[in-house]
C-alpha cells in the first residue's frame, strides 16, 4: 500500500465513523454517551512504523447520576485499546500510561459539555514495524462513571496488517475488495492443503495468528465442486495456519470448497465462547 493510499484510508475511516449511526444496541442503563461509531476496516502494509489518526465523534448526554461535577459536565470519557502485538492506541494527551482497563484501553479524551452538544475527541493508532501480519482490533469504549471503572463497548475498528510482500495464495478465490485480500473468501481443498481430515486456510489475516476467529460453512461450489461433506465441521490452529476439519475424523475431500470468514478475537460482535460448568446445562451452553 502506498503512503497516499494509507492516508486516503485513514481519511475514509474518519468519514465512516463520523457519518455512522450507533451500532450497539442495549446497555440502556448507561446510555449517557451517544457515539456515532461503528465497526470499520482499515488496511495497512506491515514492516514499517506508521500512525493512523483517529477521530471519535460523540454527543454529550446527561451527566452521571449523583455526579459532583458541574451541571455542564455531561459524561466521563472515551477510551480505546487493543491487545494486538505491536499496536498501541494513543490518546489526545499522549501515549498510553494505563494498562488496567479492558484491552489496555487508554483515554482518548474526556466528554464534557452541555448535554446534547456534538463534539469529537482525537487519538491515533500506532503500528510498529515489528507488528505481525494479521488483524488488530481497536475496541472503543465509553467510560460511564467518574471512577473510571465502567467501560461500555461502543464500536470497533479493524486494522488489517498485511505482510510486506504478500502474494495472493492460489487456493483463495472469490470476493476481493480493491487491492486487498478479502476477509471473507472461498477456499478450495487441494492436494496441497489437505492432510487427513483437515485442510489449511491460507490468508494473511490468519496465518501465524492463533488469536484469529474463523467461521466456516461448506460450499458445494460454483462452478460445481459437486462434493458433499456430510460431517460436522470445526477449525483448528496447526501452529502456523488455521484449518477446517471434519469432527468425525472422516477424510477431507479434495476438490470441495468452504466459505471462510475471518474475525478478530476481541470484536464487540463476537468472541470465542468457552463452555464451562457454570454456563452449560445438558446439550446447551449459554453465550451472551
Amino acid at each position: 500500500m502506498t503512503d497516499a493510499c494509507q492516508r486516503a484510508a485513514a481519511f475514509a475511516l474518519i468519514l465512516v465513523i463520523a457519518t455512522g449511526t450507533p451500532a450497539v444496541a442495549g446497555y440502556d442503563d448507561f446510555r449517557r454517551i451517544e457515539l456515532a461509531g461503528q465497526p470499520a476496516d482499515i488496511f495497512v502494509t506491515g514492516g514499517v512504523a506508521q500512525d493512523i489518526s483517529m477521530r471519535v465523534p460523540y454527543r454529550v448526554m446527561t451527566r452521571p447520576e449523583g455526579s459532583s461535577w458541574p451541571p455542564y459536565y455531561g459524561s466521563a470519557g472515551i477510551a480505546a485499546g487493543t491487545v494486538a502485538t505491536g499496536v498501541t492506541v494513543h490518546g489526545s494527551s499522549g501515549p498510553p500510561t494505563d494498562s488496567s482497563p479492558p484491552n489496555a484501553a487508554v483515554y482518548i479524551g474526556s466528554l464534557i459539555g452541555t448535554p446534547g452538544v456534538y463534539d469529537a475527541e482525537f487519538g491515533s493508532i500506532h503500528i510498529s514495524s515489528s507488528a505481525p501480519a494479521g488483524l488488530a482490533v481497536i475496541q472503543l469504549y465509553s467510560i460511564s462513571d467518574e471512577a473510571i471503572t465502567k467501560f461500555r463497548p461502543i464500536g470497533a475498528l479493524n486494522v488489517y496488517i498485511q505482510a510486506p510482500f504478500f502474494l495472493s495464495p492460489p487456493n483463495v478465490g472469490a470476493v476481493r475488495s480493491g487491492s486487498h485480500p478479502p476477509t471473507a473468501f472461498r477456499m478450495s481443498t487441494t492436494t496441497a492443503n489437505v492432510f487427513s481430515n483437515w485442510a489449511t486456510i491460507d490468508s494473511p489475516y490468519t496465518n501465524w495468528n492463533r488469536n484469529a476467529r474463523v467461521l466456516v460453512t461448506h460450499n458445494w461450489g460454483y462452478p460445481c465442486g459437486c462434493r458433499y461433506n456430510d460431517h460436522p465441521l470445526g477449525v483448528w490452529y496447526t501452529g502456523s495456519k488455521w484449518a477446517v476439519f471434519n469432527q468425525d475424523g472422516a477424510p477431507m475431500p479434495v476438490g470441495t470448497f468452504f466459505n471462510v470468514m475471518v474475525e478478530g478475537d476481541q470484536e464487540i460482535d463476537g468472541k470465542i465462547h468457552l463452555a464451562t460448568s457454570s454456563n452449560s446445562v445438558y446439550e446447551t451452553t449459554y453465550d451472551y
Binding site: 458433499y228 477449525v235 470484536e267
Partner: protein
C-alpha cells in the same frame, strides 16, 4: 448468531477446545440474565449454542461466534424453509430467501434451534444453482418446512 467449533482457540481461552462431533444450532433465551462487566449491571436475554442430537455439552468446548445486531440487517437475516422456496417439499435444499443472486457471494449459515431442532440434526452447506444460493442438508435428507437458519453475507471492507 453464527458459530463454528474451535479445537484449540487462542486468547482469551487458550488451551481449551477439543473435538465436538455433533451438529449445532443457536437459539435465544429471553429470560436468562447475564452480568455485564462493562456496565456493572445485569442484562436480560442470552444466546444459546445447542447440540442437536441431545448429547451433553462437553465442558471446555470452544466456539468462534459472531453476533449480528439489527443494524446489520442488510447483510444478515433469517431464512425460513417454506414450500415456496423449495423445488419440492422433499428436496434437500431450500433457496435462501430473500434471494442471494451473486455467484461470488460468501455465505455463512447457522441453524436456529428454536424453529424445530428435531429436524435440523444434519450437517448443512450452501450451493449456488446458477441463479441463487441455497442451503442444503449434506446427508441429502429433506429440508423441514419451518426450520430457520441465520444467514450472513459478510460485507466487503468499506475502505480500500
Amino acid at each position: 448468531m453464527f458459530v463454528t467449533p474451535n479445537w484449540n482457540p487462542g486468547q482469551p481461552v487458550l488451551g481449551s477446545g477439543g473435538y465436538l462431533n455433533h451438529n449445532l444450532a443457536v437459539g435465544y433465551n429471553g429470560s436468562r440474565i447475564w452480568f455485564n462487566s462493562f456496565t456493572g449491571g445485569y442484562n436480560l436475554g442470552m444466546n444459546d449454542i445447542l447440540i442437536l442430537d441431545g448429547a451433553s455439552m462437553p465442558i471446555d468446548s470452544a466456539f468462534n461466534t459472531k453476533a449480528i445486531g439489527s443494524g446489520d440487517a442488510g447483510t444478515a437475516f433469517v431464512h425460513v424453509v417454506a414450500a415456496s422456496n423449495m423445488p419440492s417439499t422433499v428436496s434437500n435444499y431450500s433457496w435462501i430467501t430473500p434471494a442471494i443472486t451473486d455467484a461470488n457471494a460468501i455465505v455463512i449459515v447457522t441453524p436456529r434451534a428454536n424453529s424445530g431442532p428435531l429436524w435440523m440434526n444434519h450437517p448443512v452447506g450452501v450451493w449456488y444453482d446458477g441463479s441463487r444460493w441455497a442451503i442444503f442438508n449434506e446427508d441429502t435428507s429433506p429440508m423441514h418446512l419451518g426450520n430457520a437458519y441465520n444467514v450472513l453475507v459478510p460485507r466487503p471492507p468499506e475502505i480500500h
